[in-house]
């Protein structure tokens, strides 16, 4: 049997080889298109994920619920409480009747901050010159806590300046602040490239790894491997349809991020596509690698979904800036393709830089692609045990 396949291989012309390959690709297309449900999920899921996560991820703190304990109840304290609520940063959730309620309020998790005024606030301010405000913030969310205490401090200080009627302060240094690339500080500019990177990587890796593992599990992989095609082409033919599916996904993702999320493509569209195609290829290759080491669909899925999801979310810089991580985690992060893709997408889409700025990322992703493909090919057991 094996003797005859080898001899058959020698006789085939490149044209015939190509036709064989296309037949395999066509078979794969049939596989996908006949499972309507899966195809629908694969095409719709990325769009929904991008829209949902793009809006849900927002570090801009607003509408924080506060409680106030105000024993003095005078014009100044009332004015401060009102002033705090003007800019939608704070929503007054509750007025506390006694300081004992503070703990209970925090323990039920109702409010993010409790403001405590000292007694006889106005009078002390007027005569003694000093009055106290305590900002008790719930430190269990550090970002919110530090942001809202800073907001509140600024608002109270601003109110005080109004109160003292100081217009011109001598020897004043004024900073003129310019926010580059994202003047209105839209959180989506930061998170949409990250969500794009995550969606493409996870879905590509899941699709390829599961579909090959499925053939292994059903035993049909054996049939493919005894065909006169070289194993390399058998495996590549499995990736081709998913490559096309991913291109469709890429375009819908870009359309949604530009027209729904309002994230601009400031730089070259051409290089964004080149970069993304390379990234899709790397992600598919990662899927191939996973499928070469597992034998069941369940293992393929658990590794590609669960095993990849957490490192991609946490280590790629998609949510948390890499420079905040301990060095060994930064190094692990460097091995995740999503990290380089996300960085490059930010440079092209948002900063509007040219291809010169992403050469580094392109080179790293290319090396990853070659490495992943060659490792997974070596891992594939061509012979059946």
């Amino acid at each position: 049997m094996s003797q005859s396949t080898i001899s058959a291989e020698k006789k085939r012309t490149p044209r015939e080889n190509w036709m064989f390959f296309m037949a395999f690709v066509r078979k794969e297309f049939y596989h996908i298109s006949r499972d309507r449900m899966t195809m629908l999920i694969l095409l719709v899921m990325p769009i929904l994920m991008l829209v949902l996560f793009g809006y849900a991820l927002n570090t801009e703190v607003k509408n924080s619920k506060i409680a106030v304990y105000d024993p003095s109840h005078d014009d100044v304290t009332r004015a401060i409480i009102e002033k705090l609520q003007i800019n939608n940063y704070f929503v007054l959730h509750k007025m506390l009747k006694s300081p004992d309620e503070v703990d209970k309020c925090f323990k039920s998790g109702e409010v993010a901050m409790i403001i405590v005024f000292s007694e006889n606030f106005y009078e002390n301010l007027l005569h003694g010159g000093h009055a106290q405000i305590q900002l008790l913030a719930d430190g269990s969310d550090p970002n919110t806590a530090s942001t809202i205490t800073a907001y509140a401090t600024n608002i109270i200080a601003g109110y005080q300046q109004d109160l003292l009627k100081m217009d011109k302060i001598p020897y004043q240094i004024t900073p003129e602040i310019k926010l580059l690339y994202n003047p209105s500080m839209v959180a989506a500019y930061n998170f949409v490239p990250g969500v794009m990177g995550m969606i493409i990587l996870l879905i590509c890796a899941m699709m390829t790894s599961v579909s090959i593992a499925r053939e292994k599990e059903n035993g049909t992989m054996e049939i493919l491997l005894v065909s006169p095609m070289k194993p390399l082409y058998v495996i590549l033919s499995k990736a081709v349809p998913y490559f096309f599916l991913s291109i469709v996904n890429l375009f819908t993702i870009l359309v949604v991020s530009v027209f729904v999320m309002g994230v601009p493509i400031a730089g070259s569209f051409f290089w964004l596509i080149v970069l993304s195609l390379l990234y899709i290829f790397v992600s598919l290759a990662l899927g191939l690698l996973i499928s070469s080491v597992v034998n069941t669909q369940m293992a393929a899925m658990l590794i590609s979904a669960m095993g990849l999801m957490m490192p991609v979310m946490l280590l790629s810089g998609m949510l948390f800036p890499s420079e905040n991580m301990p060095l060994f985690l930064q190094l692990i992060g460097d091995t995740i393709p999503a990290k380089w893709y996300i960085e490059a997408v930010k440079k092209i889409m948002i900063k509007g830089l040219g291809v010169g700025a992403i050469l580094n990322e392109l080179a790293i992703l290319s090396v990853m692609a070659v490495a992943l493909i060659s490792i997974s090919l070596r891992n594939f057991k061509i012979r059946l045990e």
Partner: protein, 372 residues
């Protein structure tokens, strides 16, 4: 009685799958030990590019003051704005501080000077906070100078309202205290959500479900026998998490362990129930996987795990209401950090119970013994 045998069967199936049994023990351990260290939104170590066009004692003192602060590292010194911008493009610096050539002159003679701060705001939070830190240092420097130049008048401008900031429950504002309890919930949800989602459908693919369907066992018992093993797995995972949190992060719940067990048992029940619902509807394992993946990742992102639910637009907050993770993560943080008791948490408890009842009755009803 039949339930006992059915559960025994499920456990044997899980135990014989070497990959699964290793996953249950190793996955939570590895993920929880490593990943929370990466989760940090803190803005620090900001790289600064300085363009001092003035070169006087006043401008140099300002630069020194900034260099001495904890937040900033001066990485680039430049004389040309284009060159400075280049350093931002290449991510070598995050903020440019430009001191104009007439700085000292403006400050002393005209009593008012400007400096320019240009921040990279792709990450809006980092750009915004970074430039406001810088503005804060500038203001401090400003009042120092004012005191030197006019000691008497300066006093008036000092504050009459004393503001004290107190950060309760996490005085050093460490991110790990926020992330560890939440990541525990995430791990629990992934393991107890994915595995049941594959359960029934893989029996469908293997054809073994037919054997179950011809037995007189009723649907309710059957679903129950599939739920209980995941419940047990959930407890194993949870206990591993407690251990890792204590060993690696020195965290132990301030509240009672029993409160967490109580909530966890309801949460696992509802998530596994949802997994079984997916499994009932899916025709192939592949479909079940993609559906489970989509639902679980959506639950995770909408739960307020990474950024607070309050920051989301209103419509997204409504969606977050249907994520059981939202409630359990909140409870977990409350019990771990603040020591809340069950009495403080009646509302989320009832909500989680609601999820458990809905998902599990849905699982029973959607299970079909006869094929149409």
């Amino acid at each position: 009685m039949i339930l006992k045998y059915l559960i025994e069967k499920e456990f044997k199936q899980i135990k014989r799958n070497k990959f699964l049994s290793r996953l249950v023990f190793l996955f939570p351990f590895m993920m929880l030990a490593v990943l929370p260290q990466a989760a940090n939104f803190e803005v620090k170590d900001i790289n600064l590019c300085v363009m001092d066009n003035n070169h006087t004692t006043y401008s140099q003192r300002l630069v020194q003051k900034i260099a001495a602060s904890d937040y900033f590292h001066i990485t680039t010194i430049s004389t040309d704005y284009r060159q400075a911008l280049k350093s931002i493009e290449l991510d070598k610096s995050d903020i440019i501080l430009e001191i104009p050539g007439t700085f000292e002159q403006d400050l002393i003679r005209n009593q008012a000077a400007n400096v320019m701060i240009s921040a990279n705001a792709v990450n809006g939070m980092k750009g915004g906070l970074g430039s406001s830190y810088l503005a804060g240092i500038l203001a401090e420097y400003n009042s120092e100078i004012r005191v030197e130049l006019m000691p008497i008048t300066a006093k008036i401008t000092q504050s009459g309202i004393d503001i004290t900031k107190i950060f309760r429950f996490n005085p050093e504002l460490k991110y790990k205290y926020m992330m560890v309890p939440a990541i525990m919930v995430m791990l629990l949800t992934m393991i107890c959500g994915f595995l049941p989602a594959f359960n029934i459908v893989s029996e469908k693919e293997n054809g073994t479900i037919e054997q179950m369907n011809v037995t007189p066992v009723n649907k309710f018992i059957l679903i129950l026998s599939k739920l209980i093993p995941y419940w047990v797995i959930g407890f194993i995972v949870l206990n591993i998490c407690f251990g890792v949190a204590w060993l690696f992060y020195g965290m132990w719940p301030k509240g009672s362990l029993l409160t967490i067990y109580l909530f966890a048992s309801v949460h696992v029940l509802s998530i596994s129930g949802l997994g079984l619902v997916i499994s009932n509807y899916a025709k192939t394992l592949q479909q079940a996987m993609f559906m489970a993946f989509f639902i679980i990742i959506t639950f995770i992102f909408m739960s307020g795990l990474y950024t607070p639910v309050d920051n989301m637009p209103q419509w997204a907050q409504y969606i977050s209401d249907i994520s059981p993770l939202k409630y359990f993560i909140r409870v977990m943080r409350l019990v771990y950090l603040k020591g809340s008791s069950t009495a403080d948490l009646i509302k989320p408890f009832l909500t989680l119970c609601g999820f458990a009842v809905v998902f599990n009755s849905w699982a029973v009803f959607s299970y079909r013994k006869s094929s149409n």
